[in-house]
Subunit: 200 residues, 2 copies
């Protein structure tokens, strides 16, 4: 069974997180959410239960675990996902261990997904110039360093980027297709009842 580590922080866009997590679970992918603390947060007690994240629109999501370096390696997961939401993406993209893992996942030929402002992690991780998209609000910070695209989903080798909540379904379904194949994508999309002509 493929597995995915999906990061989350205070300020993460809850639709982007939820659509990715839920759609991957529907495809049989084992999903784990990991809470990334802001650098200035008080150090957590690693024995304490994982906290809840307060999303960009106030929803509270209980996370599966703390983001700790030793449980987040590409030996354990096939996919590493960074959702958007300006404040959450800033916390995640500025975390040195996240930046390190983005590079290591790609080196190990595992998938890395970034959506919305989450695509800022491509820049903070120092990835080489390649096709990429993001939320329009951070386009100006990325267009000089990447081959900026306005497609809903951009696949560049193992790096998959997308734009916002409105592209979260095609983003998640593309990840399903890459991890589990085209047939599984169709099998998952059917019961979700998309309006005719969308995300086909």
């Amino acid at each position: 069974m493929p597995s995915a580590l999906i990061l989350i922080a205070d300020g993460t866009e809850e639709m982007e997180f939820t659509i990715t997590y839920d759609t991957l679970v529907r495809a049989g992918v084992s999903c784990t959410s990991a809470f990334v603390s802001a650098a200035d947060a008080a150090p957590h007690n690693k024995k304490s239960p994982p906290p809840y994240a307060i999303g960009s629109r106030g929803m509270k999501i209980l996370t599966d675990q703390h983001f700790t370096p030793h449980v987040s390696t590409p030996e354990e997961y096939d996919l590493f996902v960074i959702p958007g939401g300006a404040k959450g993406a800033e916390t995640i993209a500025s975390h040195p261990r996240v930046q390190y893992l983005v590079r290591v996942y790609l080196q190990e030929k595992k998938f890395v997904g970034m959506i919305c402002a989450g695509s800022m992690a491509a820049k903070t991780s120092g990835l080489p110039k390649q096709p990429l998209t993001s939320h329009p609000s951070v386009k100006s910070e990325l267009e000089n360093d990447f081959e900026y695209s306005e497609e809903p989903v951009v696949v560049s080798g193992k790096l998959v980027t997308s734009r916002g909540p409105g592209t979260a379904f095609p983003f998640a379904l593309t990840l399903v297709e890459l991890l589990c194949g085209k047939e599984k994508r169709a099998e998952v999309a059917g019961p979700m009842v998309f309006p005719p002509g969308t995300f086909a």
Copy 2:
């Protein structure tokens, strides 16, 4: 500011819940989530903090309050929402107080939204025959009692119904339009970056 009460239970489809809640918050609607216990659950201590709901795909969402009859009336909210997810919708649609409130909200000319298997609440509440849609999996239980449609979103007076996670964005945006107007819908949809041609 318009306000919405969004029900949630164990087994609620987390994308339908999250997309509705988040999109309404983006429109400036004050959203409250209320946890509906299964009939056979141990009675909760009303002074205890609201519980988390375990969604249909395992996500844990902290709710804003318990569903208690005296805080859920149409004097307090402009919109009453019942999301899907087979098990969650069953818990919610079979709750006598939910059924009563569905009728009272509509009598008081307040909006009621139902999506996916949540549309079963139209039947359990004894609503009169009218246009309606639902997840295809419960169509056979509804098509004799309603004018069944396969449109992504069906508006019948103050009753708004929809089909599944794949129609949750047009469902939420329709609720925004009905509560806040066409301009607000466009203002909210823009930054969500839908692929061209979808949900326009």
